[in-house]
Symmetry: C2
Subunit: 391 residues, 2 copies
């Protein structure tokens, strides 16, 4: 950031990282330099603060649920979040579907809110890790985005600068994720945990499935509606709830909460997680009535199966792209997926519904593959890593 290294030199270094890889020591050194390029946050109360990060997926509403669950259990959560990228929705875009919600907090206000009510979700500040923005733009235009070391340095530097004591990483893996191969996702997960550890913070990284949308809904408004159902213990689908709870459990464990899985579940069923979410909305300019005002668009297009068979694939990336595009003009636009990979459907069964004026049936139909035999089953959570350890 001092100008000592110019764009050409940094781009050449990035390309060398892509082809030669970065060792753990090199990744830590780069991460440290990036952290030191800007401001860092600290919490005056010295309370234990946790954070979480997702590598990005479709229908990834985990932050909307896990943050208030953990805060409802008495552990402070400070989450700075990005906007949508490619086919993946950003948590900030989802929260901004709630009328009045203010995602642009000053870093002082962010810290203060975390101290006062136990959680905050705000847009990433330019004051933290300015080198990341510069390096990302450079990588984007020089085809050097795909390097585990550079990706890890970008992710971890922002988390370290934001001041959390413990960070849970949710590395999405599959056809609708940035990491399509399990080996790649595991390498990133291991690196994230180890680099975090090198900064004296606790890190845990999960690898979770992204071969189909995580929840049933795709689009900012409809995802907020689904997240609220999970927060109130009324989830209609166990898959999204499962990942939300796995992430919340890992966050609580790192904060030393005993029996974390049960504690997290009670936060949902008791309504405390939902009340904490409403409290956060209140602190950030919105309200429960604003939340309840969100509705899917009036324009609804159903998609039905043309023949009998097993759902073999759902093209989450295509659905994510479409929903993001439609929602740019209509916050109620989106897609509700009625089936899961492996489900047996008969001709005429509902596969999905699209909401919004732009909904396109061909695109929707092409996203669902039906075959005569069922596909192999996949787990939802593949693996979990700490520094130097798989468990």
């Amino acid at each position: 950031m001092s100008g000592e290294v110019d764009d050409a030199q940094m781009a050449a270094l990035a390309m060398a990282c892509v082809w030669r890889g970065l060792s753990l020591e090199e990744t830590v050194a780069l991460t440290k330099a990036m952290v030191e390029s800007g401001a860092t946050l600290s919490y005056p109360s010295k309370a234990f603060v946790v954070d979480k990060h997702s590598s990005g997926g479709v229908s990834d509403l985990v932050s909307l649920v896990a943050v208030p669950v953990v805060a409802a259990c008495g552990v402070r959560v400070a989450k700075l979040s990005g906007r949508a990228l490619g086919h993946t929705g950003g948590t900030i875009d989802k929260l901004e579907a709630i009328p009045g919600f203010n995602a642009t907090l000053s870093m002082d206000a962010f810290v203060h809110q975390v101290e006062r009510i136990g959680c905050a979700i705000a847009a990433q500040s330019d004051a933290l890790v300015p080198a990341d923005k510069r390096l990302y733009h450079l990588r984007d235009r020089t085809a050097t985005v795909r390097s585990i070391g550079l990706i890890a340095a970008s992710i971890v530097s922002k988390k370290i600068a934001a001041g959390a004591n413990a960070i849970v990483y949710d590395v999405k893996c599959g056809s609708a994720a940035f990491m399509r191969e399990e080996r790649e996702a595991e390498a990133l997960a291991r690196t994230l945990a180890s680099v975090t550890d090198a900064f004296g913070r606790q890190g845990r990284a999960l690898v979770t499935d992204m071969n189909e949308p995580l929840g049933r809904s795709i689009g900012p408004g409809v995802e907020v509606i689904e997240a609220c159902r999970i927060l109130r213990g009324r989830a209609r689908d166990e898959r999204a709830e499962h990942v939300c709870l796995a992430v919340a459990e890992a966050m609580l464990e790192l904060a030393g909460v005993p029996d974390a899985a049960a504690v997290a579940r009670v936060a949902l069923t008791s309504g405390r997680a939902y009340r904490k979410f409403v409290e956060m909305l209140g602190a950030q300019g919105s309200s429960e009535s604003a939340l309840e005002s969100i509705e899917p668009s009036d324009r609804r297009m159903p998609l039905r199966a043309e023949r009998e068979g097993y759902i073999a694939a759902i093209d989450g990336a295509a659905l994510g792209h479409a929903a993001r595009e439609w929602a740019a003009r209509d916050k109620g636009a989106g897609i509700i997926v009625r089936v899961r990979i492996g489900d047996l459907v008969r001709a005429g069964d509902s596969l999905a519904e699209a909401y919004g004026a732009d909904a396109d049936e061909t695109l929707l139909r092409d996203a669902f593959a039906i075959e005569a035999s069922p596909p192999p089953k996949r787990p939802v959570v593949y693996a979990s890593y700490r520094a130097g350890e798989r468990w």
Copy 2:
């Protein structure tokens, strides 16, 4: 050059070339793009024109000899040349040691002189291959100089743009060369010959030894004096003469001259090569009397062997650096090397003489290694390549 690709993208590409390599097709495509970035020369008479290039060495006076030899045999030679780089002397710097010599010809004047007297040596014009200068600066500051494909594209593009029908490349190999390893030098030689062939021009590439200075003299003025001795058939050392004749022979062969080796040698012994050189000096603002006025500096420092033994190594790079530095203030400064690797010397025997006020005995002494047993013998010319063929 249109600005469509920025410095960062080009630097990232260069780094990818370093680590991934360029195929022959990719190298040809890059070379073609570079040629098309600027002007190209052509010869109105349609006469066959040859050119030569050296990858750079110490005491590399080959162009001063081979160009007039070939022209004296009736074949036109058009040579655009660079300046000194690192420890290697540039042909232009050597010619400028001759009072009055004008190396900065317009491209029209250059072409006209080649047509009129049969040869010209002038400084590389910025009008030809402007992309090379831009790319080289970028490679220099991004540690991406070392790529066979990028090196070949840089060299060949300038030769193609200069319009020769046939080009002989002299790839220096050894401790005082850019290519230290024989395998690397051979790969570059093969690539230079093949890329040249892809442009429909004849190419031949020699790999020659650069583990010690080529001739006896190092420094612009003293190298001109040595080149004149060779041109008059009065060489004191067969090594430099051998490479000059090998290059001239290859140039003549490509031009279809029968019995090229004998013809080249007669050009030296008959004095025709020397007269052609003087004619070229006359055409470029200088004269024979100016040539004869060059003398080594008055300040002379002899270096004598401290003990008996075999010359095991001569650090040409160190001598080249020193001579270049001394000559910057005094064109008569330089080094005369009195021994060759493998020579047996006794205590008190002359190893070298340094000329000029800045001469440094320690530096000079450290450049000569004397050992009890003789080193293995090396050939002077290692190999010769045409496109797709070794002979």
